[in-house]
Symmetry: D2
Subunit: 165 residues, 4 copies
């Protein structure tokens, strides 16, 4: 079975920095032969990570909230159509062997919280102090902080080598 | 249609203080003739709020995560069986006209985040500083802080009188 | 905990006969003090059963497919907002102690099949021959046929007296 | 975006004939370069179709009902973990560009009905008379009958060439 890395972050409100970081993450995930999973929409972090992974021939999954493929990112290979609205966020985290986040919003916060609730590890990429402190206080052993995409990927490799995920 | 107030908080890990606050909330919700909605399990805040509401003859709904009524709180009148696991958290917040939280954990954090994502107002009862700051930073106009159950209920009344919910 | 009877059938395409039968079912469910559960929309069988139950002061639950209360039947007391689209059909049947159907369409067929899959009993009210034969062939011990609303209600009473539901 | 063909049928109760047919379907789907989607469990039609697709190097998706990968078919490449129980049946059909069924049970019947409700085409492979008649009566323009796996695949090709799916 293929290993799946989920990348999560804001849609329309993502910053240029977050979009760049997401693209780098996607590219590195593709280069490592892992499958990229995102929320599948053609905006923000989801779109950028998918483009990054496709730029190196990676495989990309998008878990869509709507009832059809309207608004899917062009770089998504496999669209899973849920018609679950925000309940699909729980599928995003359950289906990911590990989650990396880029930036924070209400949707991303729900995904981090659901990931922790479901005993998943979450890597926060360049988070603000408040996000770090809040989620670390909830589940200190499941939250990991990295400064740049490469460090995030190195952490995923280490977890895989140790059989932690 | 009946107005529904959701009370959310920890299950097994709820503190004695939180359980007491949840009981008071449930009682006040029942006294005001609103319907109480919780996650429905027979532990922690869900159980206490339901008991509080029943103590004054209120109507209680429990949105259960499992595939049957196993583990439902005794004070739940109407059990909605979802078999959705933690995806049911999104139904908890969508079905509540307003949400009041007692304490914080990963499940409750997911509910607050999903409520904000879905444009619901959330009243945090006696939250710690970190929880207040984190969620206020995400959605300042949707987060309200109160010190005690009666103040929470007064805020709900005010929202209803103003047609805000 | 209150006993819940689910009434399911077509929405916009319901016939006048089915709407009349659904109204009678709702009225009888209300008179017996059971809670009525439907898909909650303001059309067809859902709407008619809810009106029937309210006409005698019964309590009515509507499990809505959308992300808010748009299109809810006026006679629904408690709206459960799921944003699950047709996945909410599984919640309809899991939350009902027993299901009675009025007429058949693709949505109702999915509910009967899901009810059988989840080991629920289903009473088909005045079904056509094909519907009877198809579902009886799938789960002969869970399908019951009645000719009129009163006979359906009598069957529910008998199941309750025998502790079958 | 990759085209996805869903193959659905019984789990533990599948017959040897159905398992053989499912294997052939999976193999042909893989040979055509389409993605195979199933319910993902290591039994019956889901397992056989996945093995067939993998035997020719096809890509296989499994949409699992549980909260982790327990019980996943070995031939599944990408496991989507839903924790939705039977509500995941709606995701199976929404995510498939077209559905082919092998045999009939309550779960498969729910998937056919949900597929029709969501305006999907469904190809019934060697169905019994009752299944054919029942679903044809519900949605005559969406139900197609074939006698063997190759004819089913030919129909999918034709739909794709005509832009029907």
């Amino acid at each position: 079975m293929r290993k799946i890395v989920g990348v999560m972050g804001k849609g329309n409100l993502a910053t240029a920095f977050e979009i760049d970081q997401a693209y780098q993450l996607g590219r590195l995930i593709g280069e490592n032969g892992w499958v990229l999973l995102t929320g599948g929409r053609n905006v923000g972090v989801m779109d950028a990570a998918s483009r990054g992974a496709k730029s190196v021939g990676g495989l990309t999954i998008g878990i869509l909230p709507g009832k059809d493929k309207t608004g899917v990112a062009k770089a998504v290979d496999i669209a899973i159509v849920t018609d679950l609205g925000n309940s699909r966020n729980n599928i995003n985290v359950l289906s990911s062997d590990i989650i990396i986040t880029c930036g924070i919003g209400t949707g991303t916060a729900s995904e981090i919280a659901l990931a922790l609730k479901n005993n998943r590890k979450v890597i926060l990429l360049a988070p603000d102090k408040l996000t770090t402190n809040f989620f670390t206080s909830l589940a200190p052993e499941q939250i990991f902080i990295v400064d740049n995409p490469q460090d995030g990927i190195n952490l995923v490799k280490q977890f895989l080598e140790n059989g932690d995920i």
